[in-house]
Amino acid sequence: MSRIVVRRLEKRYGDAVVLERVSLAIEPGEFCAVVGASGCGKSTFLRILLSQEQPTSGTVTFDGRPLPPEPMPERGIVFQRYSAFPHLSALHNLLVVAELRDAPRTGRLFGAARRRALDEADAMLARVGLSHARALYPDALSGGMQQRLAIAQALLGRPRLLLLDEPFGALDPGIRAEMHGLLNEIWEEHRMTVVMVTHDIREAFTLGTRLLVFDKVRHDPQFPAAYGATITYDIRLDPNRARRLAPPAEVVRAIRRTLPGGTQVRPRDAHEQGEVA
């Protein structure tokens, strides 16, 4: 269980500032949902936590140590697209986790080690409800099944921090609710720290124990890229979702302004969603 501390993080590409003055501490076992308008830097923030990108200035520490400059197994990731290896069947997508971890020379396991890893992979497939699809390639799986597979794959790596980059953004609403249930169960079981980027505020309220809203607070009409986004709202949600109260109306209105058009959010919705979950 891992504590993440971000101090005065800034990220710029040339002259364009994407993130500025981002500071926060994420406690072990928290489920942080990150929302914000497109291009507000929420995905950049996630990529920095993953070490896929480096901050321009500021520090991020993970259990007291600075983040290593490249992705490492203690931080798992589920992407929205290309989430599983296309050349491996569902079962082998999970087997490869043990093989990449335990076989640094050949990238393959043999004999008893392979059988153990296969058993573990089979158990995980069953856990996410994909046993019937074990021999299929990702291309033959539906979007929801692919994301189940990706979550299973990330879990097998036993990360201390699980990062989710709009993992359900491409799914139908029904499937999405199913995936919320699964993710919630898994988080209850493992209680790892989770940071999830989403553009769906209902999803954020349903799953998160903490809601982070990214938005720009300073604007330069002559040069919109002059200022970056920072955390404008940091809301702790009741860990017991059934008792979770709707956030204050003015907060929802403010969040709504930052979100892409068409997202219908009313305080009541968030409450209803909380009860469903």
Partner: protein, 273 residues
């Protein structure tokens, strides 16, 4: 209905596809018959019977001096050169292409070099190869390899670079090293493309093979073609060209089948469950 919406059926496709072949065959037979009627000793457009007997003689009658079957000897000799050259180029494409596409430092070091090499006309290098390696097998094989390798290397490198970054990052979060990523992610994903590269490279490879054999050789399909040209032996040349075409088509189909076998995930999915 608009022309672009008129789609031929299976049978229609077959009939339409056969028509150009038939048209060329008919035109040839007519012209050949006309010329042979005017002059029975004409050598330019031999009849099918003349071509057949010339071809069968090369295929099944051992040559008087050496006792070898010329067609078989020529074919084996040429294919050995072709596959050695293309094999070397494939190996280079695999090693260098993956290294250039995957490792930024190798890309910085070798990328510009390979780009420059790939625009050198290979046939212009042939005299250098003959001087450096003599007139033997080495220079012919190297000509084929140099002729096709740069394009293959660049193509494989590009495909490796095109692998979605998500997959590479994901592999790293699962604890993969550069080496295990090459083995378990990069190679399997570019393998189908490598096979396509080999198939595309075979065309130019035949060109370089026949050019090299025409210039300096004592055996081989290209050698035979240019040898009998001196006697205007169209009755040998035309069947040989057809034979080379057949070899090329069979090789291509074989590699395509091998690729489907080795990369089953590229086969179209049979519906979603």
């Amino acid at each position: 209905m608009r022309l672009i919406n008129l789609r031929p059926s299976r049978e229609g496709r077959l009939i339409l596809g056969t028509m150009p072949f038939l048209a060329v065959a008919c035109a040839y037979l007519w012209a050949s018959a006309e010329r042979l009627a005017a002059n029975p000793d004409d050598r330019l457009l031999p009849s099918p019977a003349q071509m057949g007997s010339a071809f069968l003689e090369l295929a099944f009658v051992p040559e008087l001096r050496s006792g070898t079957y010329l067609l078989l000897a020529d074919t084996l000799e040429s294919l050995a050169r072709l596959f050695s050259g293309v094999g070397l180029a494939t190996l280079a494409a695999l090693l260098l292409g993956v290294a250039i596409g995957f490792v930024p430092r190798v890309q910085a070091a070798l990328g510009p070099f390979v780009r420059v090499i790939s625009v050198v006309p290979p046939l212009a290098l042939l005299p250098i190869l003959f001087i450096a390696f003599g007139l033997g097998e080495a220079s012919k094989i190297i000509l084929i390899a140099i002729g096709v390798a740069p394009v293959m290397i660049r193509d494989v490198a590009q495909r490796v670079a095109d692998i979605p970054e998500e997959l590479i990052v994901k592999a790293q979060t699962l604890g993969a090293s550069t080496w295990t990523m090459v083995l378990r992610v990069v190679l399997p994903i570019v393998l189908p493309r490598l096979f396509i590269c080999v198939r595309l490279a075979l065309g130019p490879a035949w060109l370089f093979l026949i050019a090299a054999e025409a210039i300096a050789s004592t055996e081989g399909l290209g050698y035979r073609l240019f040898l009998v040209r001196r006697y205007l032996s169209m009755d040998v040349i035309l069947p040989y060209v057809a034979w080379i075409t057949l070899l090329a088509v069979v090789t291509d189909a074989g590699i395509a089948a091998l690729s489907r076998r080795l990369s089953p995930w590229t086969r179209p999915a049979r519906g979603r469950p």
